[in-house]
């Protein structure tokens, strides 16, 4: 069972003559984690605001959970949580009080709200500082408080705009783990970012934004496959064997010199590690290490935009 949660067709936004978003089609299924990737100013935030009904689209249509966010904003916003880029809280209030305020805005009954808030704060590991003023929070804590807000509201869809921007690697990792956790519980998540390796770890699908258009949409693997001709990069260390001779018989494999004796790097369309190991051992060589990794989305992404710039 997979229902379409977010559906956008021909979505455009023009500011005067400038086109911020130019005819975007986007579909997100229930339980998916979709990443909107692209450089700053590519139209990601504008798209998100249009999806939420916070900005009127110049043309095109949006359906969130089957509703039009421009006509039925309250029903849509009840189900959809939004964590803006560099989220702000009232510094003079504590984390808990900030969440209480949004719960009241959502019309939640006070006792129920307190219970949900405590639960959400526990989950994002802010329970101990919940009664401290938000002014004393670090950036990572604020972002986690933003996630707690979505949790306490029991949103079905979470739209996160640059959730990890400006965070140190440790906090980024923590935050991504939390977001990944939401998705596992069936929340549909839309994440925008310009940092790729960050989003790669949690997204099932990505949409690449460039100058207001979606240039590519598909799974991470599909993106890598499309951009990179060779899918795997293999590093191996071995002694007493001529690797050049071994790899000659394998189709599509290119050997790159690392400059270190006894260590090689290969590019192959498939994971050929078992084959390699067998051959090295058969030749009487000593295999010390063998490691393969897929071309990271980051590399694919960089190459994609290089391609786009090249075409233009």
């Amino acid at each position: 069972m997979s229902n379409t949660v977010i559906e956008a067709h021909g979505l455009s936004k023009r500011y005067g003559r400038q086109v911020a978003v130019d005819g975007i089609d986007l579909e997100v299924m229930e339980g998916e984690v979709v990443g909107l990737l692209g450089p700053n100013g590519a139209g990601k935030t504008t798209t998100i605001l249009m999806l939420l009904g916070l900005t009127e689209a110049s043309s095109g249509s949006v359906r969130i959970l089957g509703r039009d966010p421009w006509r039925e904003p309250l029903a849509v916003k009840r189900e959809v949580g939004y964590l803006p880029d560099a989220v702000g809280f009232y510094d003079n209030l504590s984390g808990r009080e900030n969440l209480r305020y949004t719960a009241r805005l959502g019309g939640l009954d006070a006792a129920e709200a307190d219970r949900r808030i405590a639960e959400a704060l526990e989950r994002v590991r802010l329970a101990e500082v919940a009664d401290r003023r938000v002014g004393t929070y670090s950036r990572g804590m604020r972002q986690r408080l933003g996630l707690a807000e979505l949790l306490s509201r029991h949103c079905r869809v979470a739209i996160l705009d640059e959730p990890t921007s400006g965070l140190d690697p440790q906090s980024t990792h923590e935050l991504l783990q939390l977001i990944g956790g939401f998705a596992q519980e069936g929340m549909t998540v839309l994440v925008s970012s310009h940092l790729l390796d960050v989003v790669q770890s949690i997204c099932t699908r990505v949409a690449l934004f460039n100058r207001g258009r979606i240039g590519f949409s598909g799974t991470v693997e599909a993106l890598s496959a499309r951009v990179a001709d060779s899918g795997f990069e293999i590093e191996l260390e071995a002694e007493g064997v001529d690797i050049r001779r071994i790899t000659e018989g394998l189709a599509g494999v290119t050997l790159l010199d690392t400059g270190v004796p006894g260590r090689w790097r290969l590019k192959a369309p498939l994971d050929i590690r078992p084959d390699l190991a067998r051959r090295i051992v058969a030749e009487g060589g000593a295999l010390k290490s063998l490691d393969a990794h897929r071309l990271a989305l980051g590399e694919a992404y960089t190459r994609y935009f290089e391609e786009v710039a090249h075409e233009a």
Binding site: L49, L54, R71, E72, Y82, P84, A86, G88, Y90, E149
Partner: protein
């Protein structure tokens, strides 16, 4: 295109939060301290003055508000002068402050309409000022009882309440003005300065500008006595653009039962009148009803401007 849901959902939550924020804010404490000091001094002066001239007037209690003891002005005129300061302090960063704290997009993503944010901010400010005004009024009444030893009559209380309501409307104009500037201008310092500039122009300079403008619009012809009256009417119309003038007229009628008009009085109108006889409270309110309606109109016009601008504003800071 019809949109579903009530625009008033969440107004109460926003208003109460704003009120709570205001009441605990240092800004509010400072302005209230200033108000208390100045008004306390005015009241003290008035009490001294009244004690010295007890027998002259039947409406002693209301005189607490209107008596001035040189060099201090009266309680009522001081309140009219300083209250806008409180309103501006509460409203000057209502909207742009949310943008600067980056809370606006998060709040607007909650299941409420934008209307609720603006209504809530306005009502929250009004609520706080109502509390402040009632407190000041009760303090004044208490001091009156303590020092003069006379309780207010029912009529005094009725007039006092009418005066309080009119004062709240007057404060509402300045709050609406401050909120309007906070939607129009992104920098809070600029919006505060703009609102303060308008306040200075209307409460200090308008009374100097009005005669000049009146002279230009309706010059006096030495051979036509009616031109004198025409210029007076022009002057009155121009002065009444300023909410400070309107409020001054309202308070002078409401707090003084013996005054019967805010305009010119002709000899034939005084035929048969008992000069100095007090009016009933209802009659006094009727006299200043046009002024009160004008103040409400000014407040609504200003609020509408901020409403329209805010509805069309881009959420993106």
């Amino acid at each position: 295109m019809k949109r579903e849901g009530s625009p008033f959902k969440g107004v109460g939550a926003v208003a109460l939060k704003e009120a709570a924020d205001h009441i605990t804010s240092a800004r509010m404490h400072l302005v209230m301290l200033l108000l208390l000091l100045v008004l306390g001094a005015a009241l003290y002066g008035a009490i001294g003055q009244i004690k010295a001239t007890t027998a002259q007037n039947a409406f002693l209690f209301l005189q607490l508000l209107t008596t001035a003891h040189q060099p201090l002005p009266s309680f009522a005129s001081m309140l009219g002068f300083l209250l806008p300061l409180l309103a501006i302090a509460l409203g000057f960063d209502a909207v742009n402050g949310e943008f600067n704290r980056r809370t606006m997009s998060r709040i607007l993503a909650q299941p409420i309409y934008r209307d609720a944010v603006l209504f809530g901010k306005f009502l929250g400010g009004l609520l706080v000022m109502a509390i402040a005004l009632v407190t000041l009024w009760l303090l004044m009444t208490g001091l009156g009882i303590l020092f003069l030893g006379l309780p207010p009559s029912a009529d005094d209380i009725a007039r006092g309440l009418a005066y309080l309501v009119a004062t709240l409307v007057y404060a509402g104009i300045w709050l609406a003005l401050a909120i309007t500037f906070s939607t129009l201008v992104r920098a809070p310092a600029t919006s505060a300065l703009a609102a303060l500039a308008v306040w200075l122009v209307f409460s200090v300079f308008w009374s100097m500008l009005a005669p000049v403008l009146a002279q230009a619009i309706s010059p006096i012809d030495p051979f036509d006595p009616m031109s004198l009256l025409n210029q007076f009417y022009a002057l009155q119309d121009i002065s009444r653009i300023s909410p400070a003038t309107l409020y001054g007229e309202v308070s002078s009628i409401l707090l003084d039962p013996t005054s019967r008009t805010v305009g010119p009085v002709f000899q034939e109108q005084l035929v048969g009148a008992l000069v100095g006889a007090p009016l009933s409270t209802g009659q006094s309110i009727l006299i200043v009803w046009p002024e009160i309606a004008s103040m409400l109109a000014e407040m609504l016009v200003l609020f509408t401007i901020s409403y329209v601008v805010f509805q069309r504003q881009e959420v993106r800071a």
